[in-house]
């Protein structure tokens, strides 16, 4: 069964604006990861945040994690048309180091030039 819920399901913004996507999950985790998928192709790993971390940055990406609320957010700042893609969160269960990823339903982001 799917672990997470993501919202919004779809997001449309103008270039230069910020995009925020949220992810909730149900069970305790070892880490949470965000992936991007362009047009139904392979997934690209964006960032991993450990369960004992609260915030992480990578370029224009900022990820937060609130384990008390079992939720995470991905912020893309100064968005570009090339950021148009589907974004998925995925969790690794507590007690596991790797292996099975449980994916959320994804957010479809459209950035208009």
């Amino acid at each position: 069964s799917q672990q997470g819920e993501e919202d919004p399901q779809a997001l449309s913004i103008q270039e230069g604006e910020n995009a925020t996507m949220n992810c909730s999950y149900k069970t305790s985790i070892n880490n949470l990861q965000w992936y991007r998928q362009n047009s139904g192709r392979g997934l690209v790993h964006l960032i991993l945040i450990r369960s004992n971390e609260r915030e992480k940055h990578s370029g224009r990406l900022r990820v937060t994690l609130d384990t008390s609320k079992k939720s995470s957010s991905l912020l893309i700042t100064a968005s570009r048309a090339a950021d148009t893609a589907s974004y998925f969160c995925a969790t690794v269960a507590f007690g596991n180091q790797g292996g099975k990823l449980i994916f959320g339903q994804g957010t479809e982001l459209s950035v208009k030039p």
């Binding site: 070892n30 880490n31 690209v44 790993h45 292996g99 099975k100 990823l101 449980i102 994916f103 959320g104």
Partner: protein
């Protein structure tokens, strides 16, 4: 990280037939993973393939329907057997890399399967 290729990239198959999907990695890895992504949906893990042992299947997936081979540390195949239109999906393989107990997965480009 790793470079992962899959063959075929897409195929259209008749119901009742089988298709074998290949996944090749440019480095040796212990575990390989096979996922299914149904149209408009997220990814669901089918099975984990370790070299030298039987694949471990997730709930809802069985070996008779999705036999997997893992002959060496850089290669795996997934067969979709006795296909029906419900098997139309993107099938993706992945491998994981990491240190310190935290692993990221790297995905192949996917195989888009349409069953008519």
């Amino acid at each position: 990280s790793a470079v992962i290729s899959q063959k075929p990239s897409r195929d259209i198959c008749q119901r009742g037939t089988s298709l074998t999907i290949q996944c090749q990695v440019d480095s040796q890895v212990t575990m390989m993973f096979w996922y299914r992504q149904q149209p408009g949906q997220s990814l669901t893990l089918i099975a984990t393939a370790n070299q030298g042992s039987e694949a471990t299947y997730e709930s809802g997936f069985v070996i008779d329907k999705f036999p997997i081979s893992r002959p060496n540390l850089t290669f795996s195949t997934l067969t979709v057997s006795n296909m029906s239109p419900e098997d139309s999906s993107i099938y993706l393989c992945s491998v994981e890399f990491g240190t310190g107990g935290f692993y990221e997965q790297y995905f192949g480009p996917g195989t888009r399967l349409t069953v008519t």
